[in-house]
Symmetry: C2
Subunit: 277 residues, 2 copies
């Protein structure tokens, strides 16, 4: 039974990415305690805040297709400013540059490409969703003692979960497969898909079974869906797969794919991550 | 026999990426007829020019680790200006923003992350170079009738070359494997590795066996090597592998890896490409 008369509290994610317009392509945001990480906020939430400035911009043309975000420094708890500028507007495409500043310093740089898409031949047969048990047949997450932002996601690991023992071993395989959705559930959109692109714990923890200090430096997301396709995914789980390609002298990369429950590949993403060892 | 007394003409690639400093983080470059594409220049050469402004910048700290370039419009033949700015400098890392402008308009935006690397545990076992015949055992390219920039590369296809017939078929597999080096040979560096990250012809041509109009919108390169490792690759071939993940309503992505002859994974890259069909 649902009490439809009760006023709905806004979702924590919507509170987290809310921006107050300051005029002239500038928005004020605020770090969210609900998405706090060990140091600074969850990068996925910060990336979503940066993208949200473009999503809200009155001059925006089309929808996000490509998004690259560079994390220059950890945001301090508190307010910050997002600056979004259309660097180039073509007939049906637009290139954006973004900065997040805090205390006068650049904390993040980003670029976004938006476009008005037309329906064409489309095909994702080379990236079919892997077979997996239903999310509800997998154990629910145990959020005890974890950092705060982890509790904002319902993650159910199919393979490649956290190592059983932090024994410093050299494991040959960095692949993780999981189901994920907002907790509580929230209809999918570009902002939440961006945040979920950063959901995968660092591959080096899996390969080395050691909690070495890490930090994402740059993340790129390619969206293979429009807002209609995202809306059709509703509040269902996404199936995510991530793996590393190379670890070299303090930086490794990881690539990932995110499908909806129907098996549509909604986003492909990669990031490069600092690690200290 | 080599006539060591003869003055060496500069390599076409060095001519192409040459920049004349204008002061204050601004450089003048010029499109290169040697790297001309059907419309505008080869994107790889333009990307290398953008990166070169950071490589030459007196305030640069460390070496490139991540590079994202967004192609906002095709450069007209002639001069242009590269603007490079260190948005944030940390103790051993730096975040750069770049624009290429021509006739007062933004033609390209880019971000670069540079870092001073330390030697750490490194591993690329999850991305071993595929088995392939030696490049010299494969047919040399036939550059007749092709666009100009193709002639600047010695490409030898192992699999996934141009379709035997442009018959508009729906081929299930977009993977290409090839050997590539500059023609004539040139010692590898960050600029040439960047250009070669864009060497792969668009995956949609392979999947559809149709020369549909295309244009790269955004490309990201992660460097898994320092200048020492690149120098050690010398003038050898690189082994490249590319495949598409998804084609959706005018945009598809392709991911690629580049190894040197020894099998070191030097760069991983992805791009998103406009297609009209």
């Amino acid at each position: 039974m649902t009490d439809t008369a009760a006023p709905m509290a806004p979702h924590a994610f919507d509170v987290a990415i809310a921006l107050a317009p300051q005029g002239d392509g500038v928005w004020q945001g605020h770090t969210s305690p609900a998405y706090a990480n060990m140091i600074g906020p969850f990068g996925g939430a910060t990336a979503a805040q940066a993208l949200n400035a473009v999503l809200q911009h009155p001059q925006r043309l089309g929808e996000p297709v490509a998004f690259t975000v560079n994390f220059a420094a950890a945001l301090a708890d508190g307010p910050f400013f997002v600056h979004a500028r259309p660097a180039r507007t073509n007939r049906s495409t637009q290139h954006w540059t973004i900065e997040i500043r805090q205390g006068g310093e650049v904390m993040l740089t980003a670029t976004v490409f938006t476009a008005v898409r037309r329906a064409t031949w489309s095909n994702s047969s080379e990236s079919a969703m892997p077979q997996a048990p239903q999310p509800t047949d997998l154990p629910a997450p145990d959020p005890r003692g974890r950092v705060e932002w982890i509790k904002r996601y319902d993650m159910r690991f199919v393979e490649g979960g956290f190592p059983a023992a932090w024994d410093g071993g050299d494991h040959p395989e960095s692949r993780t497969r999981l189901w994920v959705r907002d907790e509580p559930a929230r209809p999918l959109d570009f902002a939440s898909l961006t945040a979920m692109s950063d959901i995968f714990f660092p591959r080096i923890w899996l390969r080395r079974a050691t909690l070495v200090p890490i930090g994402t430096v740059s993340m790129t997301v390619y969206f293979h869906a429009g807002s209609e396709q995202l809306a059709a995914s509703g509040t269902g789980y996404l199936h995510g797969q991530a793996r590393a390609q190379n670890f070299f002298n303090c930086y490794f990369d990881q690539t990932a794919q995110l499908w909806n429950e129907k098996g549509d590949l909604l986003a492909t993403t990669q990031q490069i991550v600092y690690y200290k060892e």
